[in-house]
Amino acid sequence: MVESSFNDKTKCLTIVINGRFDYSCHKSFKEAFVSVKKASAYEIDFSNVSYLDSSALGMLLLLRDHAGGEKASVILKKPNGAVLDILKIANFHRLFDIQE
């Protein structure tokens, strides 16, 4: 399940994902960031994510692309141990700012 909120002052879009982050979230995750045109920073809240698979990693890449690739400001917040493990194996800490 994906919920998102946009802060008009900071121009930051916060996306909260609950439960499993996998292909079933594809549509709602994409809608969450495509629909907000004014966002300049992104925060993905992982604190309620129990598991993530490679299609979720792919979705994060989509978001990064959308947010400007190299120049994108995307923070991945509070991933649990297993999730962090997967992000690190994929070396995603080189692409995203991961805050434990």
């Binding site: 989509l62 297993a82 194996i89 994929a90 070396n91 995603f92």
Partner: protein, 568 residues
């Protein structure tokens, strides 16, 4: 909702029958009358009748019996049955529905109620028809899909299986969640002996995941065959995947280069769980974690190759697996990497039984019955004869070979030394010589030894004593990397000459470097001293070549390679 139905009605009471027919006809429906249950069964045709109304009590065959027979005759076609009844007994009425009736109408008939019920039935029929059409369309679509997948599977297998996975040094395990799967295992012999191995795991499953495997396999096999190095092939694959795959697709992979002439391997891990190196000298395996982003994510100019070099002793093993194993869940729902894999990482599982052990765990924990991800494992028993004497690479030697007579010189200055690897190109020209392609592996080996000696010791002035410990070994390669990146001057000259005289042919390879040479008078060509991690190059050259000559104080070497063509 207007629809004309063909309705079969059965009632033994003529006045009730005529009344019902009149009511139904009034709405425009076509009505066929039957006098009892048997008559109704005889007149029923599933292709024309869309609705049946049966009186419950009739002679010869009552409504319930007739209903059962009509349902049987209708087979897969849905024909609703309405019971007509003078009794208001709830048990009798509920029986009508229990045996599969759609509804019942009580006598005496009430036209308003009949209209309402007919409308409900029409809606039901329309819905049923839509469902059937969709079902048929779906099954047709599915058939087409299965067909397409099978065609694609053949192509995929033809490409990915032009590979040497049958080599006795390799064992693999491969379980897919679909016809297709996103995991690939590729292995190919290098022209100078040894082998390249790649285990890749594409995002997702099924056909879409498999699609990226085609260019991947193509580059892997083609470039390996042409003698390109791992560090050249990986960026090429990355670039190609980045260009063709959508942004959310990539390939986590491990690439392993097995070098037999200096008993070493190089490991590149981009996004796979730790590779495990089981040395016979220590119990627990050495882990090689992912240091790179998966393939297909970074732009070519951002891409970097973090490679780990290690030396091996024949019999050491390397085990690689995809995250399907690492992330599989055990029976209590805990990930394998946090529960099952511990004894494995701690060296409590014998290396040569590693794969069997993994499969046993996967089976025991019920993962294989219902895998949620593709699962691939690969184990290589490292040895110095890998890719040297395998039967597949022996090509028949042609007996009618045209003579060749040519020479060329290729000089690489600092910038080119830094940016190019001349070997694949030089080898390609040399192997245009008729018959010489059968010896390409030996020639590549000679050429690459000569070139790396000239570059590393001559131009870069690296000292091979460094390689005497395994720590020093990786330091040596780091230093090589560093000095090469900073190289400002120096050259390597490669001269190639091929001559033919009758049936005997000679290839003369002359390699000269800008270095200051070395004391070639005191070289020990004794290969038996295999504990040494260095100096093996020259001994190997000496064995492969007919003659090895040093000149210019050791900064130039000439290697003579002789071969005979067939005598009829």
């Amino acid at each position: 909702m207007e629809q004309i139905l063909n309705i079969l009605i059965a009632d033994d009471n003529p006045s009730d029958r005529i009344l019902l027919k009149a009511i139904l006809s009034q709405f425009g429906h076509n009505v066929i009358s039957a006098e009892d249950g048997q008559d109704a069964v005889d007149k029923f045709d599933p292709n024309t009748i869309q609705l049946v109304c049966l009186d419950v009590k009739m002679p010869r065959k009552d409504g319930w019996e007739a209903a059962l027979e009509i349902q049987r005759a209708a087979g897969n076609v849905f024909v609703p049955i309405i019971f007509l009844s003078g009794v208001a007994d709830p048990v009798a009425l509920s029986n009508c529905l229990r045996i599969g009736g759609t509804d019942f109408i009580s006598k005496p008939y009430n036209p308003a109620l009949i209209t309402a019920k007919l409308n409900a039935i029409v809606r039901l029929l329309v819905m049923q028809k839509t469902l059937e059409e969709q079902r048929d369309a779906m099954s047709l679509y599915n058939e087409q899909l299965v067909h397409d997948q099978n065609v694609a599977k053949v192509v995929y297998e033809n490409i990915t299986h032009s590979n040497c996975l049958k080599d006795p040094a390799i064992s693999t395990v491969h379980y897919g969640t679909h016809t297709f799967n996103g995991d690939v295992i590729l292995a190919a012999y290098k022209p100078n002996g040894g082998m390249h191995i790649l285990l890749g795991d594409f995002t997702g499953h099924g056909l879409s995941a498999a699609i990226g495997a085609l260019p991947l396999a193509d580059i892997f096999f083609d470039w390996t065959k042409k003698g390109f190095l791992m560090r050249q092939i990986i960026p090429e694959i990355n670039t190609r995947l980045k260009t063709i795959l959508p942004a959310n697709m990539f390939c986590s992979a491990a690439f392993v280069d097995i070098k037999v002439n200096n008993k070493s391997i190089e490991i590149w891990n981009g996004g796979l769980p730790d590779l495990l190196f089981f040395s016979q000298q220590s119990m627990a395996p050495q882990r090689f974690p992912s240091k790179n982003l998966p393939l297909g994510i970074l732009h070519p100019d951002e891409f970097e190759c973090q490679i780990d070099p290690i030396t091996f002793i024949p019999g050491d093993r390397l085990v690689v697996f995809s995250d399907g194993v690492y992330e599989a869940l055990d029976k209590s729902g805990v990930m394998f990497c946090h529960s099952i894999l511990d004894p494995f990482y701690q060296g409590q599982v014998e290396a040569n039984k590693a794969l069997d052990w993994l499969v046993e765990q996967l089976t025991e924990q019920g993962v294989l019955e219902n895998p949620h991800d593709d699962i691939s494992c690969l184990s290589v028993c490292l040895d110095t004869n890998i890719g040297i004497e395998s039967p597949e690479r022996d090509m028949p030697i042609s007996h009618h070979e045209a003579p060749a007579d040519f020479s060329f010189e290729y000089v690489l200055n600092a910038d080119s030394l830094r940016n190019t690897d001349p070997l694949p190109y030089v080898l390609q020209i040399i192997t245009t010589v008729p018959g010489l392609s059968s010896f390409s592996s030996q020639i590549f080996m000679i050429l690459s030894e000569l070139y790396s000696n000239a570059l590393e010791h001559g131009v870069l002035k690296l000292n091979s004593d460094k390689k005497s410990s395994s720590d020093g070994f990786s330091q040596y390669y780091e230093e090589r990397e560093r000095s090469l990146a900073n190289l400002k001057e120096g050259y390597v000259k490669i001269s190639v000459k091929v001559t033919s005289e009758g049936n005997s042919r000679v290839l003369v390879l002359y390699v000269e470097d800008s270095g200051s040479g070395f004391d070639y008078q005191h070289i020990n060509f004794d290969m038996a001293n295999s504990e040494l991690l260095y100096n093996r190059g020259l001994a190997l050259l000496d064995q492969l070549c007919h003659k090895l000559e040093f000149s210019k104080g050791g900064s130039a070497v000439t290697a003579y390679y002789h071969w005979q063509v067939g005598q009829d």
